[in-house]
Amino acid sequence: MLNPLDIIKKKRAEAINRIIGKGYFSTIRVYVGMASCEIAAGSKEVMAVFEKAIKQGLNDVYLSQKGCSGRCNLEPTVEVVEENKIPVKYGLVNKDRAKTIIDKHIKKGQVIEEWTIQ
């Protein structure tokens, strides 16, 4: 019988594989805050913008929801993470900002500094 430590090791490896299978190592990972405070601030609409963009052919993006990171006054928040770059954290993201983030940051690699959380 397997030791609990072996079981958890196996489970963790499987979980990581599943995450990778979902495209975790796509070029860009996008996290949208989806705790109830963020949802109240409008993050569902933001999420919908990203989902729609992916549906319409935005490739190489791993989209995930996340919990709340505690930045109440800057919600909704969105993180754009690329390997070996400082993750970019956007605050006060609304539908329009989300579209701009897709157009400028995700598609063209231009970070929109004035919207980032410093």
Partner: protein
Amino acid sequence: MDHSVTPQYKIILCWGSSCQKLSSKSILDRIHQKIDELKMGNNVDIILSGCLGMCSKGPILIINPGYYIYGKITPEIVGEIIEKHINQNKATAAYLIEEDHLFNRFYRIFGDVKFYGRQMRIALRNCGIIDPESIDDYLSVRGYESLAKSLALFTPNQVINEIKASGLRGRGGAGFPTGYKWELTAQEKSSEKFIICNADEGDPGAFMDRNAIESDPHTIIEGMIIGAYAVGAQNGIIYTRAEYPLAIDRLHIAINQAKEHGFLGNNILGTNFSFNIEIRQGAGAFICGEETALIHSLEGKRGVPRTRPPYPATKGLFNKPTVVNNVETWANIPVIIQEGAAWFSSIGTKNSKGTKVFAVAGSVINTGLVEVPMGTTLKEIIFDICGGLPDNKTLKAVQIGGPSGGCLTKDHLDIQVDYESFAEIGTIMGSGGMIVIDNKSCMVKLARFFLEFSQSQSCGKCTPCREGTKRMLEILERITTGNGKPEDIQKLLRLGNTIKKTALCGLGKSAPNPVISTITHFRNEYEEHINEKKCATNDCSALIVYEINDACTGCSACIRICPTKAISGIKKNKHQINQNLCIKCGDCFDICAFKGITRR
């Protein structure tokens, strides 16, 4: 702003007390010097962080991107490290440390943000970085490893000893040592025991628990399973508010996922330990956050507290030994098991170990959830992390612990956050509400607000709380409406002290705190309200008087807007306000274009 000229590297220097002792300060000087030398000032940001929890390997320096952690650095060597890393893009392997703390991932994403850099996220380590509805995400950040570790390597007793040694104390407010609580339950001989997670968060403005559950439900579940293993419980209950639908949804999802993976149910991870968790929704009574009232509510009874002893640890739910801990406490458990008691107890102050989450709100630039090591000063939280007060307002007071806590003044800003120092100055840690108050707020009105809450949420069982807070509220109401009497302050203190010493439960005992502490620190405001019938902040509307001054042009804009027809006058002549009709809404004051109305 053009991205190409913004800093590319973020250097995080641990500014915890341990690292500071180990010459962080001279290291910082050297870093600045080196960056000037390299003329890289535009490409590098330097951030001072709170304790990063790696004290034994301090001083710690982290360079982003990549979250490279350098340990045991010295002023002599730091220049070389910086030069190699930043100028030549090469890490200095000799000083690089492989610290895979559970919370490192958070800082890999957020470490460069000032708001997070000074924090230390243990309970909230996964909040905002994993998908709360995905157990895969949780497993990928070493989720349930602590559970496996407990089951594989520790006896239940060893788990308890580990928690005891960690110095973890209840985060619900009272700060009872968690390990000792568990030990009491473990020692009880009973065929049935319960584990309860108290998620009945009710303080106005507090949302730490909701956030923790919504963002990382598995951590709480894992903590509870470890607790159940330690004390020998078969069933666990998460008691949460019905007003937290998303938290409840996510808990359901997490519990089902945990069952599928064999973390809950029979024979957990192949051992003969079995445990189940169910969710119960409270109906929104604040008092049900008190553990005995919570237990009554779970038993289907009216949610009122009962006298203790016996404590729930020996006689709890259905008279069975029961461990009740709050959400934040449970969230700390997996980290303690994973990182070890010695590590955990290295964070914090002498008697308060680990971190504490605060919900910072009020007159502050960055409102939000802040998790800091015990021992952090209020100044650091309010000014360094939360960015201070907006619009150049000045800080007047900090209200800590919600309706159970007290007000501190700017003289207390250097107080270190821990159970003892809060108790010393007449407030409590509480569950972590922190409201920053600027000089536009009236402290009497604030005290009245909190007392109104406590009074409306009193269960009505014991006399001091039921009747006493009502009388205190009546006195405060008369003070804030200009009917205060000179003896009222004395009466408030007398009643407050009696309630504190005689009420049945924690809610009652702490209900007078906001009043007593505001009297202690802002007695002059009370006296002004009572003796001069005046509220200097114009916050108490009943004490405001609007009068028309000579700047009045007789334009009659105020006459048109006044909802009670209190203003009269002939056009182009000075108008008058009938004080008997005025409801002090302030509309005339706002609409007057000529500053013709005086507010006093």
